[in-house]
């Protein structure tokens, strides 16, 4: 695939019409709402959006209101990739029969981590295996926030949620986060990227690349949630940036399966001393508060160990090694 030469300026983006408009009912400091707004700023023409059940569906379409200036459909929780399959198939067939007014219509599917890591993974795997031409955007806030902060396959090790509560004996979620973007790379699809709302330009360029990709493209966006992660609503972008700076959520992309570290993360490969410790990131979020009790302190070391292990594995995939 070819990569876009598009480099949006702040002015250009501010002036571009909002397709996901204000007035929706997301919480103050909502990371996913920022992600949706950014992705919609990267559209290149006529676009149809489909949304899985979840926070973003609920806050943006309370009948009779809608925050969407594009055609938009929600059907259920586990099937957003199947929605995209059907929309894309319909566009193809209608175009073949001369019943489509547009030369090209892009299709974007939005889903949270529950709708992607867990209940939606079958439909996602099937849709990309079939090679439908669409961009799948995962906004990852690391738990079922819409239903009240239950753990998902994305919730990180040690996080306290309402179904993995930190108790006297158990220090929050025992399992580790599923490496979903790598799982998508393993499907051998043409484009996979991770992005953070703290780096809007990188995110927009990646979204545009995903839209320009012929065939399935997958984006994993790191979107902190003040309600679920338990931090002040003003800290969303700071935490999103810290995720990258600690390398717990590195930014990279694969084009036709080739891993490339994005500049925002590459700096920590070149200058490992600038990579921040995970404890500072954990400290900012009260979902990890219990880990700072003497009894559970070892969990912080476990998390740091796993972050380093995954980071080093990623560097190998990107043909880089950490020089420490």
């Amino acid at each position: 695939m070819t990569t876009t030469s598009w480099k949006p300026t702040a002015k250009e983006i501010v002036e571009k019409a909002e397709l996901f408009t204000s007035g929706h009912r997301a919480c103050a400091g909502c990371g996913p709402a920022i992600a949706l707004r950014q992705v919609m700023k990267a559209t290149r023409g006529p676009t149809i959006v489909t949304n899985a059940t979840g926070c973003m569906e609920v806050v943006s379409t309370i009948y009779p209101y809608t925050a969407w200036k594009v055609p938009w459909i929600h059907t259920a929780f586990e099937n957003v990739a199947a929605n995209a399959s059907g929309i894309e198939a319909a566009l193809k067939a209608m175009k073949r029969k001369g019943r489509l007014a547009h030369e090209n219509i892009d299709v974007i599917a939005f889903a949270g981590d529950g709708g992607t890591f867990d209940i939606g993974i079958q439909a996602l795997s099937g849709a990309v295996e079939r090679g439908h031409d669409f961009l799948y955007v995962l906004y990852d806030n690391e738990a079922y926030m819409n239903t009240g902060i239950q753990r998902s396959g994305s919730t990180p090790h040690g996080a306290s949620t309402t179904t993995s509560p930190a108790g006297r004996v158990i220090p929050g979620k025992l399992q580790y986060k599923k490496p979903i973007a790598d799982i998508m790379v393993a499907h051998e699809i043409p484009y996979v990227a991770t992005a953070s709302i703290a780096y809007w330009q990188d995110l927009l360029v990646k979204a545009r690349r995903g839209l320009e990709t012929e065939g399935p493209a997958f984006m994993h966006i790191f979107t902190p949630c003040p309600r679920g992660w338990r931090y002040d609503t003003s800290k969303t972008i700071e935490i999103a940036r810290l995720g990258v700076e600690t390398c717990i959520f590195p930014l990279w992309e694969t084009i036709d399966g080739e891993y490339n570290l994005s500049p925002q993360s590459k700096i920590f490969a070149l200058k490992p001393e600038r990579k921040k410790k995970i404890s500072g990131y954990l400290k900012m979020q009260r979902r990890f508060k219990h880990l700072f009790r003497p009894k559970f302190k070892h969990v912080i070391d476990e998390i740091q160990h796993r972050v380093d292990e995954r980071w080093n594995r990623l560097l190998k995939r990107c043909n880089m090694t950490q020089s420490d």
Binding site: P46, T47, I48, T50, E57, V58, T61, I62, Y63, P64, T66, W68, K69, V70, P71, W72, I73, H74, T75, A76, E78, N79, A81, A82, N83, A84, S85, G86, I87, A89, A90, L91, K92, A93, M94, R96, K97, R99, A101, H102, I105, Q122, A123, S125, G126, A127, E129, R130
Partner: protein
């Protein structure tokens, strides 16, 4: 309009479905294989592979995704079709409601098959009967010819602007799906002309102007929104209204189709067979009606006033027509090829018996659960049911209101 030229082909029910889909200018087929529906999907794949259709065929990873893809394609403006049976239909259950709730006119063929456990691939109606509340129109075919004809009519019914509801065309597993039968086939262009190009109703769009009800970048609308206690109920009420209008539309389209095909199935909703002066009668859906007609003919030669009422549509349930047809019957057996466990008989029995409550006179009614898991329903078993009815007619007593026919006791 004169009856169109037709040719006779030997085909099974599944092939009849596939051919009807091929001829009906369908844009998107999304499906997943399940016995005994599989032949439908296979034939459609062949049509695509041979370039005989312009249809986009999406071979999904599950029935849940198959129906989802049809629903989303339909919302985008496409004419869509899928097929399923048994466990596959059960897996679609969630999306059945979403499809009708989104007013997406998807057409689906159901090769009626038993539900697990124990696993069984043969015919009964448990799979579609359990979906009777999902706001899908249900047409039950008696034979492969009717399956073919109903399929073509279904696209018109589903897409009718006053209906806009999905339609299931149900054909009995193996008895119809896999049995060769002579089927009269219309020419491609005749069918294409009959089904026409899909039209869209106008709805209020975002900017306060009327726009076509589909996902169109020129006229964006939001479909499948969060709809809470302040509006949800009204939307559900509208679905009931569409179901109330549907019988008239089904009859009209059935009548219009009969003018080009020369074939009629009662009035399109019910088929009354030798009921005018019948004292005893049975009610059923599906292929069992064919066998029952032979039994009725036999009884008539013996001077027994026997009749049959076949329901072609179970949803919408044509109550007025049913009451009218059964007006003079004195002993009635309702045949259910599914059971409501722990309830009081099968679903057809429930509904007809309930509707008789307000009738000035009503017959003695008995329910027979039959043919579960493909248990054969031979003429002898049906004959025994009519014998039971004769006894009820004489004694004016129903010994047991819910019985099981053809099962080891």
């Amino acid at each position: 309009m004169a009856v169109a030229q037709q040719k006779t082909l030997a085909m099974n029910g599944d092939e009849a479905v596939a051919l009807a889909v091929k001829q009906s200018d369908v844009d998107v087929v999304a499906a997943y294989p399940i016995t005994p529906q599989t032949i439908i999907v296979e034939r459609l794949s062949e049509y695509v592979a041979n370039g005989e259709v312009e249809t986009e065929f999406v071979c999904t990873e599950s029935e849940h995704s198959a129906l989802t893809a049809c629903l989303a394609a339909s919302a985008t403006g496409a004419r869509t079709f899928t097929a399923s049976a048994s466990a596959g239909l059960a897996l679609m259950h969630e999306i059945l409601y979403v499809t009708s709730g989104c007013r997406a006119p998807v057409v689906m063929a159901i090769a009626n098959r038993a539900l697990s456990a124990p696993i069984n691939i043969h015919c009964d109606h448990s799979d579609s009967m359990v979906e009777r509340d999902s706001c899908w129109i249900q047409i039950y075919a008696e034979n492969s010819q009717e399956t073919y004809d109903s399929m073509i009519q279904s696209f018109r019914i589903a897409e009718h602007l006053q209906v806009l509801l999905p339609v299931m065309v149900c054909l009995d597993a193996f008895v119809l799906s896999h049995t060769l039968e002579n089927v009269q086939i219309l020419a491609d262009e005749t069918v294409r002309k009959f089904v026409g190009v899909r039209q869209f109703p106008l709805v209020m769009g975002h900017e306060g102007k009327e726009v076509p009800f589909k996902l169109d970048p020129n006229n964006p609308i939001t479909m499948g929104p969060l709809d809470l206690h302040d509006y949800y109920f009204e939307h559900k009420r509208q679905q009931e209204e569409a179901m109330k209008i549907a019988p008239r539309i089904i009859k009209e389209i059935h009548e219009e189709f009969s003018r080009i095909s020369g074939r009629k199935y009662g009035n399109g909703l019910i088929e009354a067979y030798r009921l005018e002066d019948a004292d005893i009668a049975t009610v059923c859906v599906g292929s069992t009606a064919g066998t029952t007609k032979t039994v009725v003919d036999h009884l008539r030669t013996k001077g027994t006033k026997a009749g049959l009422l076949r329901l072609r549509t179970f949803r919408p349930l044509p109550l007025t027509e049913i009451m009218g047809a059964l007006e003079n019957v004195k002993a009635l057996a309702i045949m259910d090829r599914s059971n409501s466990f722990g309830g009081s008989g099968g679903p057809i029995y429930h509904e007809i018996r309930h509707s008789m409550y307000d009738a000035p006179t009503h017959p003695h009614i008995v329910n027979y659960i039959y043919g579960l898991g493909g248990r054969d329903m031979p003429p002898t078993t049906i004959l025994n049911i009519y014998k039971d009815l004769q006894e009820i007619l004489q004694t004016k007593k129903v010994k047991r209101d819910v019985q099981f026919a053809g099962v080891r006791q």
